[in-house]
Amino acid sequence: MSYWCQMYFQNGVTFTSMRVQWAFGMYCVVLMLIFVFVMFSVLLCCSGSHQFIYMLTDHNLERIWGTVPLLILVFLSWPSMGLLYVLSELETPLVTVKCIGHQWYWEYEYTDFAVVSYNSYMVPEDELKLGEPRLLTVDKSMVLPFSVWCRILTTSFDVVHSWTVPAFGVKSDAVPGRLSESSVKVEMPGVFWGQCSEICGALHSFMPIRVEVVSAELFSKWLWILQSSVWEG
């Protein structure tokens, strides 16, 4: 989850989020190199120690400063194009979860074996236990298995919401009448957090997302318990 004075992304736990962060880091390096080069050139020109009063045209120089930026842009677009297709890829999924946005809570539906759904409300500040994060704690989490391709379908019952978990690299708008698909394969167990990311009314900031990622065996046991009885939390 996020921590105080965080300057960079949360640690990615899916291969797609790790690759996106790697590409971002690479773009930052290229950006810094270009910035340093441009600043150096500006200072050089302002210093007055070099003068080019006898140069009228230099076609070779113009060819160089036309093609080098073009090559830099091609270099930058290469991982981006690969990522564009990889992010929308869905290998053989084994789990489908529907995240339905309501004002102002999330409803999770697991209907692969039986129709099971429950609502996830934020725990108010006065009911928090010691150590539970404010504005993030929920009464019922979403559960996913790790190292398994999961299909996440987001939609909304009323207005536009957005289901986000930064650690997964997922931000999927929940639009009424539309069923947006994202794919997630979480590589390590743990608890991951997110918040609604599309303004949806007065309590937009108070509908968090908490995902517990567990082993496939534990997930199937939990699902069996959920469908055989009413979950009271």
Partner: protein, 97 residues
């Protein structure tokens, strides 16, 4: 070499595969090549309609119809299918079954 693979977005083979133990325990709706885009509302709708057309033509005991049932149950939100069930019962469903 690993930098080039990383750079071109090629992943190691194991990152594509599911946990083998999970494959024995879990299953869900399969990928449908007719609906490759991010928006799966048509996939949900089409599988719902196809299921009821299938059982109307072949009978409720016809096993292959359950493919469509599994697909639409996995994909469609509950409040969509409840509304469509009410429309079918009222004779107001906007598709020919």
């Amino acid at each position: 070499m690993s930098f080039i693979k990383e750079f071109s977005g090629k992943y190691p083979e194991h990152t594509h595969k599911n946990d083998p133990k999970a494959e024995e325990l879990l299953s869900t709706a399969k990928f449908d090549a007719r609906f490759q885009m991010c928006n799966q509302d048509k996939a949900c709708w089409q599988n719902y309609v196809d299921y009821f057309r299938c059982i109307k033509k072949k009978g409720e005991d016809y096993e292959p119809c359950n493919w469509f049932k599994k697909q639409y149950q996995a994909l469609c939100p509950g409040f969509w299918t409840e509304r469509w069930d009410e429309q079918r019962e009222a004779g107001a469903f906007p598709a020919k079954i």
